[in-house]
């Protein structure tokens, strides 16, 4: 057999996928089209970069004056308090809501009502919920707390319900067979199987609430976001940088802490 014939008999190692190439081409065309409708142009980008130079010049060096640090500390502590309270109440409310939404434990009409509530909590961005709560209960930390409670309920209940639906029903049946009451089944059959994951979700939510509590202040929900927004509006960009650095640092610490928390309950 000649070498040429041999190479013919083999399938090509990496055949061209024309469907995929056309897909990428269409995606590229879409990007061009969307950029033209949004009036994103190269000139605008370059002009912006000139501003960026000035902007960073005013940001650097970060402002560490004692009065500013005091403001930073007050705002940060309030953010942490908002996050802790919102997570705590959110988790407490998610426990029953998640149970009600689990389709393998509850009758259909109950689980669908609970699922509808969860979907409603999830579909609005926390900032929109915060706007509504600022109108309802006024400016301050309470509006932020309430908004983040809603967000926590949407997130934790959904994952919790899914965790319950994935659990093994054998243990539940075993407990039921002993003649246990509904509460007995719940406490001895269901919770031991899903509690570790639930605490994992709660730890993650504490993290996420801390992140979001830096933001609700922009619409009047208290916390470090309010401090940041005020500094931004007064063009105190060097203080803005200080606040941003503090936020990144605290989120890093909280990520490490929540990782540790998950390990404890594994």
């Amino acid at each position: 057999m000649t070498p040429a014939a041999l190479s013919h008999s083999r399938a090509e190692a990496f055949p061209a996928n024309w469907l995929k190439r056309i897909g990428f081409a269409l995606l590229f065309l879409y990007v061009l089209y969307a950029m033209s409708t949004l009036e994103i142009t190269w000139e605008r980008f370059v002009t912006g970069l000139g501003h960026a130079d000035e902007f960073f010049g005013r940001m650097w060096p970060p402002n560490f004056e004692a009065t500013k640090l005091d403001l930073l500390k007050t705002g940060m502590i309030e953010s942490i308090q908002i996050a802790i309270l919102a997570t705590f109440v959110g988790v407490l409310l998610s426990l029953p809501l998640g149970l009600l939404a689990a389709r393998n434990l509850m009758p259909e009409w109950v689980s669908w009502t609970a699922r509808g509530t969860i979907a409603l909590c999830r579909s609005f961005h926390p900032i929109v919920v915060a706007i509504l709560f600022v109108k309802a209960v006024g400016f301050g930390a309470l509006a932020g707390i309430l908004a983040l409670i809603v967000a926590s309920m949407g997130f934790i209940s959904k994952l919790f319900a899914e965790a319950i639906e994935e659990m093994s029903l054998k243990q539940v049946e075993a407990v039921r067979a002993t003649g246990a009451s509904f509460w007995g089944v719940l406490v001895m059959g269901v919770l031991p199987q899903v509690m570790a994951r639930f605490i994992g979700f709660a730890a993650y939510q504490l993290d996420s609430n801390l992140r979001n509590s830096t933001m609700v202040g922009i619409v009047g929900g208290g916390g470090i976001g309010a401090t940041l927004f005020t500094a931004y509006q007064r063009f105190d960009y060097d203080f803005v940088l200080t606040i941003l650095m503090a936020i990144v640092a605290i989120i890093m610490v909280s990520e490490i802490a929540s990782g540790w928390l998950r390990k404890v309950f594994q």
Binding site: F14, L27, Y30, V31, A34, M35, T37, L38, E39, I40, R44, F45, G48, H51, F55, I77, E78, I80, Q81, I82, I84, L85, F88, A119, S123, F124, H125, I127, V128, I131, L132, K135, A136, V137, G138, F139, G140, A141, L142, I145, R211, T214, M215, I218, V219, G222, G225, L228, F229, Y232, Y237, L244, I247, V248, I251, M252, E255, L261, V264, F265
Partner: protein, 270 residues
């Protein structure tokens, strides 16, 4: 061990060791202390609370009926803009996150310092909220969609990059070694060895983030970064609550449609 010994001292069964119980107890204690501390010192003004139910009822009464005539005037175009911002932002994030993910993946970049540096970029991107990213980009590029796209992209780098780096680290070594044995260049290793393995999770992550970004880009306009949030901000500051209600209903509808759409695609590709 003799059986006699077992018979004398009945074994006690414990689910957790002493250390585990102590750690858990410490967590409970810290939780309770933290909640009490927060509840005592957080500033809540009770006077504002008395008329809260009344204010809430008032809010919804002013929202209904929606001002439908406002939709073709200002909301529709803003909605399309929001869609473009979310999509372009997600695509830009994918492009920017890929090199950072490669740098963070320990099986590709064999330098601990570079891994840590990449992780630092990813964490910073995630810890700054998209609204705060938007503030920064509005200050640099001025109000408009460009700031929105960049805010969405920079916020998403952390999320996409982290999940991509994990997918890369989970890639099997077999195909890579086979390619290495043929003398493939590092670029071919990436394109023909790693990419086919991580492609499904790459698109799943992209889809997931796009879903989130539609929600996020709907509020970026509050700080002037384009999209339907600009219309929301205008309606809010003019106290046109019937327009606010309409815009919230539109956002709700879009989020539901996008969620149904993405979960349908997810079912097909996974």
């Amino acid at each position: 061990m003799s059986t006699g010994e077992n018979a004398v001292a009945p074994r006690t069964w414990e689910a957790h060791s002493r250390g585990e119980r102590l750690a858990r107890f410490a967590v409970y204690l810290v939780t309770v202390a933290a909640v009490i501390w927060s509840a005592r010192f957080v500033e809540i003004i009770p006077e504002f609370l008395y008329d809260a139910p009344q204010q809430t009822v008032d809010l919804f009464r002013r929202m209904w009926p929606f001002d439908w005539s406002h939709y073709p005037k200002a909301v529709h175009a803003a909605l399309i803009e929001t869609f473009h911002i979310a999509t372009l932002g997600t695509l830009l994030a994918l492009v920017l996150a890929a090199p950072v993910a490669l740098m963070a993946a320990r099986n590709i970049t064999r330098s601990r310092a570079l891994n840590l540096f990449a992780t630092f970029i990813l964490v910073s991107s995630r810890s700054v909220n998209s609204l705060i990213w938007a503030l920064l980009f509005v200050a640099i590029f001025g109000p408009g969609a460009l700031a929105g796209v960049l805010a969405i992209a920079f916020r998403s780098i952390g999320f996409v990059g982290k999940l991509l780096a994990e997918a890369i680290e989970e890639a099997r070594e077999g195909p890579i070694e086979a390619l290495k044995a043929t003398g493939a260049s590092p670029a071919s290793l990436l394109i023909k060895g790693y990419w086919p393995q991580i492609e499904p999770s790459f698109w799943a992550v992209a889809l997931f983030r796009w879903d989130i970004n539609i929600r996020e880009s709907a509020v970026l306009g509050l700080v002037g970064a384009g999209g339907i949030g600009v219309a929301l901000e205008a309606a809010l500051s003019n106290l046109y609550w019937d327009q606010v209600g309409l815009i919230l209903a539109v956002i709700f509808a879009v989020v539901i449609v996008v969620e149904i759409f993405t979960s349908a695609i997810r079912k097909r590709i996974i």
